[in-house]
């Protein structure tokens, strides 16, 4: 992990370094096996097409896990992540590049916590979609 961010480093408006990755079928399958969520929507193209999608979609929680990875890398400590609330607004297809990011919205010097706006984006057909939007995290860096 990189050098952990400190509370003293934080300013309102400071951006969390973004983290991107390409969503691969084998990772989504590995996620299904490790999480226990074997919904066929995330494994069977035939099932996904019947549900109105061009192919399988990633679990929302797969995308939330990626956002969490982004924050923990920045914080340098999984224990510094206190709370996260996300809204799933768009689906993620195989081959998509998901980009997680965040920005400091508010600081609480007494508790040494920060509230962040957080999101995950995908560029698709020239437009930016938000698989995770209007979401927030509360962190307490060292």
């Amino acid at each position: 992990m990189r050098e952990p961010v400190r509370f003293e480093d934080l300013r309102v408006g400071l951006e969390v370094p973004s983290l991107s990755k390409v969503v691969r079928r084998e990772d989504v399958k590995a996620y299904a096996d490790a999480s226990g969520d074997q919904n066929p929507l995330h494994q069977s193209d035939e099932f996904a097409r019947a549900a109105g999608f061009p192919g399988i979609i990633a679990h929302g929680m797969f995308t939330m896990a990626h956002l969490t990875s982004c924050l923990v890398r920045w914080l340098g400590d999984p224990g510094a992540l206190l709370r996260m609330r996300v809204q799933f607004r768009s689906v993620v297809f195989m081959g998509d590049t998901i980009v997680a990011g965040g920005r400091v919205r508010e600081l609480d010097p007494e508790r040494r916590t920060a509230t962040l706006d957080v999101w995950v984006t995908v560029e698709r057909d020239g437009t930016t979609e938000y698989p995770i939007k209007r979401s927030e995290a509360e962190v307490r860096p060292g």
Partner: protein, 131 residues
């Protein structure tokens, strides 16, 4: 079929959630972490195992073909520890209708053997309007 509003507040049996090193390692690989810590969202595995009871509850009448995951929230009181076993307690917190869609929120507490709250999870499933 509409959701059974009478089930707000229903508590489901607790299940055991062992934080097994092998499963944590597989989860970390799947989400792209380096395996040096328990990924915070590993708690999803325990939450989902308990949530299955709610989803399959014949009294609730959830049409799984119309369900999408709308929102998710976690409050972590501390990181999970390898080898510990948590008990997972799901409860239907609310059932709401908005714009023809139904919103089912399940709150799940994860407690350690001493009864201390480790994680509070809130999962909102959206049952999409027909047509």
């Amino acid at each position: 079929m509409a959701l059974n509003l009478g089930l707000e507040g229903k508590v489901y049996p607790a299940i055991a959630f062992p934080v097994e090193a092998d499963r944590v390692a597989r989860f970390a690989r799947a989400v792209g972490d380096d395996g040096s810590f328990v990924p915070p969202t590993f708690v999803t595995a325990g939450e989902f195992a308990a949530l299955v009871q709610v989803i399959a509850d014949p009294e609730l009448g959830l049409d799984t073909t119309r369900v999408v995951h709308g929102e998710q929230e976690y409050e972590w009181r501390r990181p999970l520890r390898l080898g510990e076993e948590l008990s997972v307690h799901p409860r239907i917190a609310s059932i709401r209708t908005r714009g023809g869609h139904e919103f089912l929120t399940v709150e799940t507490e994860m407690r350690d053997p001493q009864g201390e709250l480790v994680v509070l999870a809130r999962n909102t499933l959206i049952v999409r309007r027909r047509g």
